[in-house]
Symmetry: C2
Subunit: 619 residues, 2 copies
C-alpha cells in the first residue's frame, strides 16, 4: 500500500526549510519502516481487528516540553497494556509501596502477558502481566470503590496532559470476550490477592485498557515517566519520583515479557507495549517516545514500534547504562568577595575592613542538578581550602534537586554549622519546589539565611564582616563635599565655590531621585541616607551611602541610563550641569582633577567587572 | 568479636576535624553493619575458608578520581566471580560483539551461578554464570593462546589502576577442586561453544578467579565501569563505552542471579559479587563502590556488602532510573557580538559596520555533556531565531561528548552549512578526546573553523563581517594624533604642541613594548601596525590597531598592570608622562578634555564588561 508523505505537525521554525536533526531522524525512521509488512493486527477482540494496518505515527517528547510528531500521531487507539505501568505507579502512591508489594512481585515471569501462572507465593509475578495489572486495579477498587475507574482515567489524563476518553466499543468487546482475565481475577481472589467483587474489578480493568490515546499522548505520558513524574507540558507532578523509579524498574525487568534481557542489552530503554499497537519508551532524564502501528509480532509488540525503539537507541547511543557526566561541572564559579564584592559602594573605612577580611566570605555558584556526586564534590572542595566565616551557595542555575542531593546539602550545611560557618543561600525562591526539598532537611538547622538575589546575600555577609571587625554603618551621619572621592584633591577654596552652587535636596524612602531616560541636567553628592541605582529591567547596579556621588555620568552623557531611588530618607547636594560647567571654566585644574577622579572611579569599576567576567569564563 | 574503630584512610582535609558527608555516611554504614553476624565464609575451596570473617572494608570511588575508604580496604582477597563482567567486556572489545553474542546469551537463567544448564540453543544463558564466564575465557584463549591469562591479568590491572597478582594457593585449590567447572567446560565443547583444549581454558578461568584485589581496587574497577570505561584515577580508556554499556546490561539483568528483578527494583545499581567476599556496584556517571566482607548469604553474596549497597542506594536515592537533568542547562550563554564583541578595539568605520551587522555573529556557550537532549535543544533554539551568518559554539566547558552527541552536533552543523551559515568552534583543542569524537563526524564538512580562544573566534568572525560589508583593514596605514579618540576635541594648536613632545618608536613583531609591573612613565599612541595587551597570566585584554592609545592608564596609575606586545611590526608615538604633565599645565582645558575622553573610553568598556557579566549571570 502506497502512502503519501507524512504530515509534519512539529512546530514550524523561523528558518523556512529547516528541520531540527532529531525531527529529520524521525522522518527517516518513518520512511524506512513504513514499507514494513510483517505482523498482524490483534484480533482476539473483534473491535481491535478493525484498526487500519497502514497507520503509523511516531512522536517524541523532550523534557523541556517540545513534542516532535511524524505521521499518524493524532489517530486515537486503545491504550491496552500500556496502562499497566501508570496504574502501578498510581497504586504505589495511593496505597503505599508496602501494601502493593505485599501482593504483587517484581520478578520477570518468563511467560506471555496473559499467563495465568502465579509465583511461589501465589502472587502475580509482576505488575506488567495481566494478573499483576488486575491485582493493581483490585487494590485501587478496594480503596476508591465505584470511583476507581474515574480516578484512573483522570490520573492517566494528567500523565497525557489532556482529558482522555474511553472507546466504548472496544470496552464492550473486551468485556464480552474477557473470560481468561475473569479466570485470572477469580484465581487472584482465591489466593486473597484481591478481596473485592471480581466483576467490578474486571470492569475497572477492561475500561482502563479501553482508554483512547494517540502516539502524541503516549510520548507525553512516557516523557512524564522519564521526567520523575512531572508532566513536561503541564509541569504537574503526577506521581512521586519514588513510584516512577519503581515503575521503570519493573518495566526494565518485565516490560517486554520473556524478551527482558535482550531488551536491556540491545535497547536499554524502559518500555511497554499494548496490543492496540502502541509502544512507549521512557529514557529517564532524556525523553519519552510514543509510536502507533497496529501490526504486532508474535510477542504482541508493534513491529514498527520495536524497530523505531531499536533504531533510536542505536543511532543516538541512548542506552540507559551508557551515561556520562562530570560532577566538576556543578561548580560554575567559586570565589571570595575580594574578587567579586557586592554592588554596594563602600566607604574607605569599610573598604579597609573588607580588604583585610575578604577571604571570610566565599561564594560558590552551582549549576544543574544537585545530586550525590555534585554535592560530594562541592563538600570536598570546601574542605580542601581555608575555612571562611560565611559561605554563600548561589542556586540560581540549579533547576533540579534530588531528595538525596538535598539531604547531602543539608548534611554539608550541618557540617559547616558545627564549624561555626554561616551558610547563606541565594537564587532560590521560598515558594519553589527546590526550596521545599532542601528545607525538608535543613529546617532543623538554625544558621541558614537566604536571599533571593546573590548581590543582596553578598552585601549582607559584607555587612556582618564590617560589624564584626569594628566598623559601623551610621546611616544618619552626614558628609560634606570635601569627603567625596569624586572631588578628592580639590582645594578648600574650590570646594567652597562648588558648595555655593549646590542645593540641598531631601528625599523620602522609596522616592525616585533620577528617572532613566530623562535628560541628565545635574549631578548629585549623597549627604546622608542610602540610595540605589537600578536599570529599567530591575537589575540593581549599586547601593550608595553618604559620601558617594550619583548621576555623575551626566559629566559624559546627556541622558540618564538608570533610575536612582531612596532606600531610606536621604539628603543630597545637587549641582546643575550648566552651573558645574561654569565652575569648570573658572577652575580648569579642578575640572581636570574631577575628570581624572571620574576616570579613576570608572577604572576601579572596570577592574571589578573584568574580574567577574574572568571568574565566570575560566571554567 | 569486638574490633577497634576503623582506620580512616581518606585524604586528610584542611578543616582539621571535618569529614565530607559521604565519608561520614560510609563510617556510619561500617559501624552499623560491623556487628552483623549472619552468613558463612565460602568453604567449597579449602583456601577460601581461611578468610578472616571479621574483615570489613568499604571503598567508594568518585568519577573525578577521589577514593573514600573505611575499614579493611587494603586487605587482599580473590576476585572470583567479580572478574566475569571485566572479562566479558574485554571479550566484546577483543573479539567483537557478534562473535561473543553468537555463543553466549544475555537472558537471566533463574538458576544458581554454578548451574550446568544451558539455554534452548545449548549456549550459556549469560556471561555472569560460570558457563558463560568459562565460554568468555575460551574465546580469549582461542584468540590469545597461551598469552590469554596474562592478557586478562593486565587488563584487570588497568581497570584497577595498578598491577594485580594471583593468589597461587587459591588457584591451586580452585584447580584441585574444580570438577563442576570442568564438567561445564566439556559440556561447552560438546556444544561447540568452545573449541579449545578444555584444561587450558579452565586454567585461564581458575587463574582469573584467583586474582587478588582489595576493596579499594574493587571501587576503582567499578568506577571505571561507571565512567564509560575510563579509569578515573589513571584516565586510561580501558575498554570502549559500547562494551561497558553491554556489560552493565548483563550485570543488571543477571548480575545478582535469581534475585535480578528485586535487585533492580530495590537497589537499581548494576552490581556483581564474588564468593571471595567482594561486591562491586557501578552507578553510571556517578560512582563505583567496592566492599569486602567474607561471610556470604545463601545466594553466595556478601551479607554486609549487600546491606551497604541497599543502604547507599536508599539513603542517597541512587536508583539508576531515578535520574533528573534538564537540557536547558546546556546553554550557559547565548548572545551576539552586539552584546559581547571581541577584545579587538575597532576603528570608527569598523565599529559602524559591526553595529549594523551585529546580529550576524551568534555565540552559544555550552556546558556539560553534549548529549542527544542538549544538542536537540540547541538546534531548536537556533532554528527558532533569525539566521546569522556565523555561529560560534564555545565548548570550553564541555567535558564529555557522547558519540551520539557528536553525531547530532555534526548533523546540526550540516544543517547550518546547507543554509550558508559558517560554524566556528572554540574552546576545544585538536588533541582532545572531544575533538576526536566530533571530528569523526564533521570531517566531511567543509565550512567549520576552530580557534582555541573564544575571543579569537569572535575577532575572526568580526573581521569577516567587516570585509564582507565593505570595510578594509589596512595594517600598513599610518594615523596621526588628531585621529586618536583620546585626543578628540583638542585644537590644532594643542595637537601640534603635543606632537612636538612625542618620539616615534618602531617595534618588531613580538617585541615587548610595555612590561607589566614596570613604572608607568609614558603613554603611547599607535601609529601603524597591531599590538595586543595581555595580563601576566596570558589573558588577552585587547588587540589594538593604528589610531588607538595604549599605556594610557599611566594617566591614573604609577605602575603598568599589563604587557603590551607587537603582533606585527608597529610604530607608535610615545609621550613621557612628565612631558605630558607640562603640556597639561600649559593647556588646562586640553588636559580636562583628555581626562574626559579617558573617562568616556573607560565608561564604554565598563558597559561592555557589565553586559558580559549580565549575559553570564542571567541563566
Amino acid at each position: 500500500m502506497k502512502r503519501s508523505p507524512p504530515p509534519v505537525t512539529a512546530t514550524t521554525t523561523a528558518w523556512s526549510s529547516s528541520k531540527p536533526p532529531l525531527l529529520r531522524f524521525l522522518h527517516t525512521c518513518y520512511a524506512d519502516f513504513l514499507p514494513e509488512a510483517a505482523g498482524a493486527v490483534a484480533d482476539y477482540i473483534p473491535e481491535l481487528g478493525k484498526a487500519d494496518p497502514a497507520h503509523f505515527g511516531i512522536s517524541l517528547a523532550t523534557l523541556d516540553g517540545h513534542v516532535y510528531e511524524v505521521g499518524d500521531t493524532k489517530v486515537p487507539f486503545t491504550i491496552q497494556s500500556m496502562s499497566k505501568p501508570f496504574v502501578f505507579a498510581l497504586a504505589l502512591d495511593t496505597l503505599g509501596a508496602e501494601r502493593v508489594e505485599s501482593v504483587i512481585g517484581v520478578e520477570p515471569s518468563g511467560d506471555p502477558f496473559n499467563s495465568i501462572r502465579l509465583n511461589a507465593e501465589n502472587h502475580p509475578f509482576n505488575a506488567m502481566v495481566n494478573a499483576g495489572a488486575i491485582a493493581c486495579s483490585g487494590l485501587l477498587h478496594a480503596d476508591k470503590g465505584d470511583g476507581a475507574f474515574e480516578f484512573i482515567r483522570q490520573a492517566l489524563g494528567r500523565f497525557a496532559g489532556r482529558e482522555l476518553d474511553v472507546d466504548e466499543a472496544v470496552y464492550a468487546s473486551e468485556s464480552a470476550t474477557g473470560d481468561r482475565n475473569r479466570a485470572i481475577g477469580y484465581l487472584l481472589r482465591t489466593n486473597s490477592v484481591i478481596t473485592e467483587n471480581v466483576p467490578a474489578v474486571l470492569d475497572v480493568y477492561f475500561r482502563q485498557c479501553s482508554i483512547l490515546v494517540t502516539a502524541r499522548d503516549t510520548a507525553v505520558m512516557a516523557a512524564t515517566l522519564a521526567n520523575r513524574g512531572i508532566n513536561p507540558l503541564t509541569e504537574e507532578q503526577v506521581v512521586t519520583p519514588y513510584a516512577i523509579a519503581r515503575t521503570l524498574s519493573v518495566m526494565t525487568s518485565s516490560g517486554m515479557y520473556d524478551y527482558a534481557g535482550e531488551w536491556i542489552y540491545r535497547v536499554g530503554i524502559p518500555a511497554k507495549s499494548g496490543v492496540g499497537g502502541g509502544i512507549l519508551a521512557a529514557l529517564p532524564a532524556r525523553l519519552g517516545l510514543g509510536s502507533y502501528s497496529p501490526k504486532l509480532d508474535k510477542h504482541g509488540n508493534s513491529v514498527r514500534g520495536i524497530k523505531v525503539c531499536e533504531t533510536l537507541s542505536a543511532h543516538y547511543d541512548l542506552h540507559m547504562l551508557n551515561r556520562s557526566d562530570d560532577a566538576r561541572h556543578s561548580i560554575i564559579a567559586d570565589y571570595n568577595i575580594g574578587k567579586n564584592p557586592s554592588r554596594r559602594v563602600r566607604r574607605p573605612q569599610e573598604q579597609e575592613i573588607l580588604a583585610r577580611h575578604f577571604q571570610e566570605v566565599r561564594v560558590i555558584e552551582l549549576v544543574g542538578t544537585l545530586s550525590l556526586s555534585n554535592v560530594d564534590y562541592v563538600s570536598r572542595r570546601l574542605a580542601g581550602s581555608p575555612r571562611p566565616e560565611f559561605v554563600i551557595f548561589d542556586l540560581r542555575r540549579v533547576t533540579a534537586t534530588t531528595r538525596a542531593g538535598a539531604r547531602l546539602v543539608a548534611e554539608a550545611f550541618q557540617e559547616l554549622a558545627e564549624l561555626g560557618v554561616t551558610v547563606i543561600l541565594s537564587g532560590i525562591k521560598r515558594t519553589s519546589r527546590e526550596w521545599a526539598t532542601i528545607s525538608e532537611w535543613t529546617r532543623r538547622l538554625g544558621n541558614i539565611r537566604d536571599f533571593y538575589l546573590l548581590d543582596t546575600a553578598i552585601e549582607w555577609a559584607e555587612d556582618q564582616i564590617v560589624y564584626r571587625y569594628g566598623g559601623s554603618i551610621d546611616f544618619l551621619e552626614t558628609t560634606e563635599l570635601a569627603e567625596q572621592p569624586l572631588l578628592a584633591g580639590l582645594s578648600e577654596a574650590e570646594i567652597a565655590d562648588l558648595t555655593a552652587l549646590c542645593t540641598v535636596r531631601t528625599y523620602q524612602q522609596n522616592e525616585k531621585v533620577i528617572a532613566a531616560g530623562g535628560e541628565a541636567t545635574s549631578l548629585f553628592f549623597l549627604r546622608s541616607g542610602v540610595v540605589h541605582v537600578t536599570l529599567p529591567d530591575g537589575i540593581r547596579l549599586a547601593t550608595l551611602t553618604a559620601g558617594m556621588a550619583f548621576g555623575e555620568m551626566a559629566l559624559l552623557e546627556p541622558t540618564r541610563s538608570a533610575d536612582v531611588l531612596a532606600d531610606m530618607s536621604a539628603t543630597a547636594y545637587e549641582v546643575a550641569i550648566r552651573d558645574f560647567e561654569r565652575f569648570r571654566e573658572q577652575h580648569p585644574r579642578a575640572g581636570e582633577r574631577i575628570m581624572r577622579n571620574l576616570a579613576q572611579i570608572l577604572a576601579d569599576r572596570l577592574i571589578v567587572a573584568n574580574a567577574k567576567v574572568d571568574l565566570l569564563t575560566s571554567g
